[in-house]
Each structure stands twice: as C-alpha cells, then as structure tokens.
C-alpha cells in the first residue's frame, strides 16, 4: 500500500513538472509582451525586461520561476493589479473558489447518489424516469445555462437571492453558483450510481449474500453500496475538470472574486505571470484530486490495496 501511494505521488510530481515546462514554453511563444505600450521606448522596455529577468535565456528563466514557485512566490502581476504579488492576489480568491467547488461536488455527489440508487432499486418506476431525465439534462446543459436562468429568474425577477456575489452575504451568495455548478456532478453521479447499482444487484455475490438471509439494510448498505461506490469514485476526476471549466464562466456570471474569473481577465489582459500561476494552481488541484481518487480507490478496493506490485 505504501509503495502504491509513493508511486502515485511520484507520478503526480513528474506530471506537475511536465505541465509547468509545457506551459512555460508555450506562454513565452505568445505574441504579446506585457510591455506593449507604445509610450515605452526601446531602452525603457529593455530595462523593464532586465528588471523582471525577461532578458535571460529561457531555461534560466524557467529555473528561476520554478524555484520561486516551489517557495510559494508566484511573481507579481504586470497588468491586472500592477506590482501586486500574485500570491497575495490568489490568497483572497482561492478560498472562495474552493468553497463553491467543494459545496457543489458534495451536493452533487449526495443527491446524485441518492437519486441513482433509488432509480436502480425501483427500476422503471416514476422515480427512475425522473432520475433519467434529470441526468440527461444535467449532462447536456452547460452549467452557465443553469446559472443564467437562475440569475435571471431567482436573482433578478424574484429577488430571492443576491444577483451578484457580495462578501458581506457570502453564504447566500454561493447558493446559486453552487447549484448551477453541481448539476453536472449530480447528473453524472446519478447515472453512474444507477448503472453500478443495477450491475451489483444482479451479481452472484449479492445473490449469495441475499440467500444468507441477512437484513435488507445490511445487504444494500454493506454489500451493495460498497461495491457500487468503487467505480463511482473514478468519476471524481472528470467532475473536477468540468467544475474548473464551469467555474470560469459561472464566476463571471455572478461576479465572484475567485480564481476562475481571475484567469479569464488574465487571459484577456495578457498578464501571463497570472495565467501561469492560476493554471499552476488548477493543475495542482486537479492532480491532488486524481491522487486522492487513486488512494481512496486503494482503500476501498482490497484488490488494489493488497495487490502485489506486479504491474511494472
């Protein structure tokens, strides 16, 4: 188990390095420089570039950047907030984004699981049809469709919830973004849970467990759910991607001061230090989710936990 975890961690570290290298080279081949201002003379620009180390060869720049990144220093923003250290820019924004992210994954997971399992147990009932419709719609509609619809009807017309994010009313402000972002997770989890549960219920081991005459609660809870949960964990990774993508747009719609809206404005203003930093954060988040999924998988599934290291 320890070896398995260490291997996963090693793979993750390598991936982070690869991602950073790719991002760095790509961003440096971008057309615009942050000092594209026409009022700046060539000499001034050279001075500025020297000040920020932009005149050094790329590998050196990358090495310096890496060193700084690992120390938690993401450099400074050139455009969005002149000379503001990016780490400070991020510090206020990350918790907001993470809060909404976790809220929506949890909400989606819980409701999705309940819906999927009920649908599987009461196949072809009204609830099953309902779950099918919800999951098709949830998977099909982009999260901003829900966000806009809620923002217009609930936020604007009915005025029940704040139309835009306000720091003084943070809890209520996150309700609509959370719901619109959770739809995809909810739909995916419901769909997956139903399929898995149907398959588990039809398996020989459920038949054997049932024929032992144990209680229905134990049968479903201990044997059924546990086996159905294993594959459901794998959808966490695609959910995270969807969530990040969704958050870029949903944070715009509700004017949430998170890292998603920061990335969008950084892209629009060509502030590539910020772009690099946010993408680094995104990658770290995504890779940690993948790592957690792998480890969770190991804990729940004894076939992985106890596997001899036979694969490579």
């Amino acid at each position: 188990m320890l070896k398995y975890v260490l291997k996963r961690i090693l793979i993750s570290v390598v991936t982070v390095l690869v991602i950073l290298a790719v991002l760095f080279t790509m961003l440096h081949s971008m057309p615009g420089s942050p000092f594209n201002d026409e009022k700046i003379t060539a000499v001034q620009r050279a001075n500025l570039e020297a000040k920020y180390g932009l005149d050094k060869p790329l590998p050196v720049q990358f090495y310096n950047y890496l060193k700084a990144m690992l120390a938690g220093d993401f450099g400074i923003s050139y455009v969005i907030q002149k000379n503001m250290p990016i780490s400070e820019l991020l510090r206020a924004r990350i918790p907001v984004s993470i809060r909404i992210g976790i809220q929506s994954v949890l909400l989606g997971m819980v409701i999705g699981l309940i819906l999927g399992i009920i649908a599987a147990l009461k196949r072809n009932s009204f609830l099953d049809t309902f779950a099918t419709v919800v999951s098709v719609i949830g998977v099909s509609f982009p999260s901003y469709v829900f966000a806009m619809a809620m923002s217009y009807f609930i936020g604007f017309r009915l005025g029940w919830l704040p139309l835009l994010y306000s720091t003084t009313d943070a809890a209520r402000s996150t309700i609509m973004p959370t719901i619109s972002l959770c739809m995809f997770s909810l739909a995916t989890v419901a769909r997956f849970a139903r399929t898995e549960m149907v398959e588990v219920m039809g398996s020989d081991y459920m038949l054997l467990a049932d024929s032992k005459g144990i209680t229905t609660l134990r049968l479903l809870g201990v044997h059924g759910l546990r086996n159905a949960l294993i594959p459901i964990i794998t959808v966490l990774a695609p959910l995270t991607v969807e969530l990040m993508t969704g958050s870029l747009v949903v944070e715009q719609i509700f004017a949430i001061p998170g890292i998603g809206s920061l990335l969008v404005s950084a892209i629009q203003f060509n502030d590539y230090n910020v772009v690099l930093a946010v993408i680094f954060i995104y990658s770290i988040m995504f890779i940690s989710v993948m790592l957690i999924v792998d480890i969770l998988y190991g804990i729940i599934d004894p076939r992985i936990r106890l596997a001899k290291e036979e694969k490579r």
Binding site: V139, V145, M244
Partner: protein, 347 residues
Amino acid sequence: MMTAKEYASRVEKQDFVLANRRDIGVDKVYGSQSFFRDAVSRFTKNKGAVFGLIMIVIIVVMAFAGPPLSGYDYRTQNLSQRNLPPHIPGLEFIPIFSGVSTQYANGQPIRTDMYELKGIKDVTHIFGTDALGRDQFARVWTGSRVSLFVALVAILIDTLVGMSLGLVSGYYGGKVDFFLQRVVEILSTIPTTVIVTLLIVVMKPGLTSITVALMITEWIGMSRVARAQTLRLKEQEFILASKTMGESNRSIIFREILPNIFGQIIVMCMMTIPNAIFTEAFLAFIGLGIPAPLASLGSLISDGFKSMTMYPFLVAYPVIVLALLMLSFNLMADGLRDAYDPKMKEM
C-alpha cells in the same frame, strides 16, 4: 393437470408406430433479426433518441435555411432598430412575439410596444435584434453553423486521429504503443480546459485555433476506446486464424478488426460531439471565440448576457438552441449506445 388416462385417450392406436422422420436433429431456424436491423429497431423504439435525431435534423436545416428565410443577414447593422424584442406581424397575440419590451423599475414592469413606438409595425424580427440592430434570428442560425462545423471537426478528429492512433497502438504494441500511452497519460492529467485555453491564447482566436485545440484534446478518449477494443480482439481466435492464414496486417486491421469495433467507434464519436460543441461555446463565452462580426452560439450568449436584465430575449434564444443541440446529441449518443449494445444499457 390431466390424468394419465385422459392423456392416453387423446392419442390413437395407429399413432403407435415409429415415426422414422428423416430430419432428426436438424435444428429449426427461428426467424431471427439481423444484428443491424435489430439495432435499428431498438434505436427507433427509444423515444429520446428519435427526438434527438429529429431535433438535430431541424437544427441543421435551420442553420442553412434560417438566415435566408428571415430576409436579413448576420452582419448588416441597422442602428435605428436596436435591441428590438421579438416580433411577428399578425402573431402579436402570442406573448413572446408581441414586440412588447418589458423593463423593470423598482420591481414594477413597464411595458412598451417598441414597434408601435418606432412606427414599424410591419417589420418582422423573430428573435428580435441585437445592440447594433442586427437580426438575431439570422445571427442565431448562422452561429449554430459554427457549432455544427465543430461537431463535424470532432467526428473527423475522432476517426482520423483518435481511431487510427488507437488501432495502431493496440495492434502493433511495442514502442509506438508505449510512447503513445505516455502522451495520453500526461495529456489526461492536464485538465482539457487548460490546454484549450492556453492554445487559443497563444494562437489567434478563430475557427482554426479552435480546430487545433480540439485536435489536441478530443482524440484521447477515442484512441483509448479503439486501443482497448483492438487489444481485446487481437487475442481472439478469428484474428489469430487470419494471421496464420498469412493475411497482411493491414488487411487484418481493415477487414477483421475495424468492422468489429465500428459500433463502439460510432458511439464514442457521438459522445465527443457535445463535448466539442461545449468547448467552442465555452471559449466564445470567455472571449476566445471567433471574432466579430461572425457569431457563434457562445459569443451570442456572451454578448446577450451583458444586457440580460434589460433584454433577456437576446440571451434566451441562443441558450435554447445550444441547450437543445447538446441535449439532442446526448440523447442520440445514448440511443445509439443502447441500440448497439443492449447490455451496456444504462439509463
């Protein structure tokens, strides 16, 4: 249940001779449907899938017939007719085509018939007009062409890039497979949004860069499916038999493997399409879509959103078309999957 006597009485004495039929042990063949016809009948029985197919056909037809039908084109500005609500002369009794604009002041609605105000009661704008007086109906359907184009691109990428790489990697294995697998592994640990966004930032926003971005991200899923299926088939007897008969690798791939994985390939293709359409719409929304005056559903939504509280119709129609398109492709993909492999049936 009958008693033995009743039974016995139903058979005559002369029946007790050996039958000596000639067809002993010849199996009767019961009318069974061919696999393809079976799949078609399963597909047509699936209401969702048929709905999806019909909607896609309607949207495709409208994407080409819509703009000419409206009598406008997507870029002609008419600054005297800005932000007009939807209006169809003669159908004013339908609230959504009345041409009446509703604004809210302190929560109280104020209704104005914009067309009467401007004295243009005979002008038709089925979806209204945008901030530059361009007909939204023409713009929405022109914009949906972009989504359909992207769908086409996704299919091409899936089959040309994803399927070929998967087949080659699965069939030949070895170094090629090892290299491709590492690429897939790394690409799949980077969120696709990040890759796509970065690419568009580096290149100029436009259809070409969107195509390139899709090319880098969308082949992965398909190549995985194709590789896994090829690996599975490679070990089966009929392939081994062809090999021992001296069939060339190329003909094994095209004649034996490809026809057998075709179903999964089509299903996978259909699943990539909504993804690709969504990616384009997403990029357009964050301002990395195709440049004006061209429109895509995503850019229309993005523009419309800015004045959503004033002119909700500007955002509503492109959202509805986009949502219907995504829904239809998803429903059809589900239907195809179920039709192709009833055992895979999920929800």
